[in-house]
């Protein structure tokens, strides 16, 4: 492989670099290479976000800058310490190379479960990927970066669980980045057939805290009839990272999708999540926890689309803000005309630990059916001084009392994880941000 050019001024997102990326993938299905070309052209055609776009209200547009970012050539020399908890299998990507893969238990393989890196999935299960890849697009503002993801994605995973197969332990996918001005484009698909049950936990982590990274990640989460899909995303990029993540959730008849995204890292991190309740009985639980410190900006845009009657969704996004950090939450519930008996809830709760922090909240409803129950709300509060005093009066230091109250604020969400080991591991992971 040729040496990368000196790229502090020019990035890898050029025609030449894209052509080279494609050339390296000539063994992949033709439809895939075509999709990449289309995406690349879309990426070029789409403008960068502009101030007049309501979907970017309050966002720091000046902070979006792709200049100088390159695709890493070598795996990271070391991997960050990630939470440990029992898992069924894992895939680890470091600087866009697969560096670790634990085998799928034979029993699951025999049942038809697939858990493979994206490129392998494209080679061996191309039709499956083709059927679900960006099947339900997310159009909440970051389309340009979603196209860039398709153009350059090579890492990520396919988890496919056939009808009726229930797997208790989580699958784990880890993406790590190391080195200055590195970029990555993970894309993970989770496909659960009827009555299947599985959990996927995905980590997005930088090995250093200061280096700048650029990331655009995409997920396609599909739960067919009666399936129960749990997705947990844990984002802890470096504090100099620009991160975009786009989550597409589709729930069929009586399916349940539980998604929890933990946002800790990034200079500016935008997360878009769109749930589609496609058939009666479908339910989507959308949860997020954010710890924003320094001058970090976390930008969360959500859409809950109720496309069928008797569907329900429950969104709870909680942010803790320190220092001069900023958060933006903009959420919309859409109830389509025939989606009677929809039960939808949306709540954004901000805990302000600093007077200089800024939480923006834009909840919204768009209801075209007449027999529905939809509620939304946003609250912004400080630590209750009476609670703080109560803990201190038991000898707990002000700092620790503060932490306990913040974790208490989060616990409402973490407590919904039914996997106790995962719950404990994530709690410790969040605590590490406070201690650092």
């Amino acid at each position: 492989m040729s040496a990368l050019p000196d790229t502090r001024s020019s990035s890898d997102f050029t025609q030449e670099r894209f052509a080279a990326h494609l050339a390296n993938r000539s063994d992949l299905p033709a439809w895939w290479l075509e999709a990449k070309k289309t995406a690349w052209n879309q990426y070029l055609a789409l403008p960068l976000p502009v101030r007049t776009d309501e979907r970017w209200r309050f966002s720091n547009l000046k902070g979006i800058d792709l200049a100088g970012f390159v695709l890493p050539g070598q795996p990271a020399p070391h991997t960050p310490h990630l939470p440990d908890f029992p898992r069924v299998a894992e895939l680890t990507f470091s600087n866009r190379q697969i560096t670790n893969r634990t085998p799928l238990p034979a029993e699951l393989r025999e049942q038809g479960v697939i858990f493979a890196p994206l490129d392998e999935a494209l080679r061996e299960h191309g039709d499956l990927v083709r059927r679900y890849f960006r099947k339900h697009p997310v159009a909440l503002g970051s389309e340009k970066f979603v196209e860039l993801n398709t153009a350059f994605c090579s890492t990520g995973a396919l988890l496919y669980v056939p009808r009726g197969v229930e797997i208790a332990l989580p699958f784990v996918v880890e993406h790590t980045l190391a080195g200055d001005h590195m970029a990555t484009f993970p894309h993970t698909l989770v496909i659960l057939e009827d009555q299947a049950k599985a959990t996927l936990v995905e980590f997005f982590v930088s090995t250093e805290t200061e280096t700048a990274h650029f990331v655009s990640g995409v997920n396609d989460l599909h739960a067919a009839a009666g399936a129960y899909l749990t997705y947990v995303g844990v984002q802890h990029w470096s504090d100099a990272t620009q991160a975009f993540q786009s989550n597409s959730i589709a729930a069929g008849r009586d399916a349940r999708v539980f998604s929890l995204n933990l946002h800790l890292g990034g200079r500016q991190a935008r997360h878009e999540s769109h749930s589609r309740l496609l058939a009666p009985g479908a339910h989507s639980e959308m949860l997020a926890l954010t710890v924003a410190h320094g001058t970090q900006e976390f930008d969360q845009r959500t859409l809950q689309t109720h496309a069928a009657p008797h569907t329900s969704s429950n969104l709870l996004y909680k942010n803790v803000l320190l220092d001069q950090a900023r958060t933006i939450f903009s959420g919309l519930i859409v109830v389509e005309p025939d989606a009677q008996k929809t039960d939808a809830y949306q709540s954004n709760r901000n805990l302000m630990l600093s007077a200089a922090a800024e939480a923006n909240s834009l909840p919204g409803l768009e209801i075209e059916a007449n027999d529905v129950r939809c509620t939304h709300g946003a609250t912004t509060a400080r630590i209750d001084p009476d609670q703080q005093f109560y803990l201190e009066a038991r000898g707990i230091t002000p700092q620790h009392a503060h932490e306990l109250l913040v974790f208490g604020f989060f616990e409402e969400i973490l407590d919904k994880l039914t996997d106790d080991h995962l719950h404990a591991a994530l709690t410790r992971f969040i605590q590490s941000k406070f201690k650092s």
Binding site: L391, E392, A393, R394, F407, E411
Partner: protein, 251 residues
Amino acid sequence: MSQLEIKDLHVSIGEKAIVKGFSLTLNSGEVHAIMGPNGTGKSTLSKAIAGHPDYTVTGGDVLLDGRSILAMQPDERARAGLFLAFQYPSEIPGVTIANFLRAAVQARMAEGEELDATGYYKRLYSKMDLLKIDRKFTSRAVNDGFSGGEKKRCEILQMAMLEPKFALMDETDSGLDIDALRIVAEGVNAMRGGALGILMITHYQRLLDYIVPDHVHVMWDGRIVKSGDKSLALELEAKGYDWVKKELAKA
């Protein structure tokens, strides 16, 4: 043997003077009751001693074993051996009793010292049994959705676990039915007599039937106006606070 000495204490909330020259010396093993009508400064006294930031000490001193605690932060005072049993304990959603108490116990240990988890739970469960608190409570959030009686039992549980030198019990009987009061009193009585000194603040004599004080003080307008033994509480019950008012007027 420890001593809590409150010397000519003056406390204000904002500009308003509430405690006006309160003096009392409390020794280990003693139970003192402070009685008085509402608004006389009883709760203010206990919160000021615990270090609540809304209360300003404008004069006098509070000494624990000869050392002033007034410059200490609330958590330091607690670790030095003071415990305030709240009249209205805060609800702390998301923080389980087990974690909360473990944090409080750990705060009293030396840096680097590890908590013996097995020993901790053994002790916690035995105290819970004593206070007839269901063990399931350990995984419930502190006071979150508790009944009045549960909150007060939870206060006593914390007191039992933290083994303070001195407990300031602010209206522990309020909001308790007779069964809950009996359980709470049993818990307190099991702790008294040894190294613990108790300052029990109450409006009613009822509590004193269950936790019999060694000394009774009547507080009026921010200070002690009359002291005696448990018979003073009974006299007060019979004659009412107006009796004290008249006595004061005569003097």
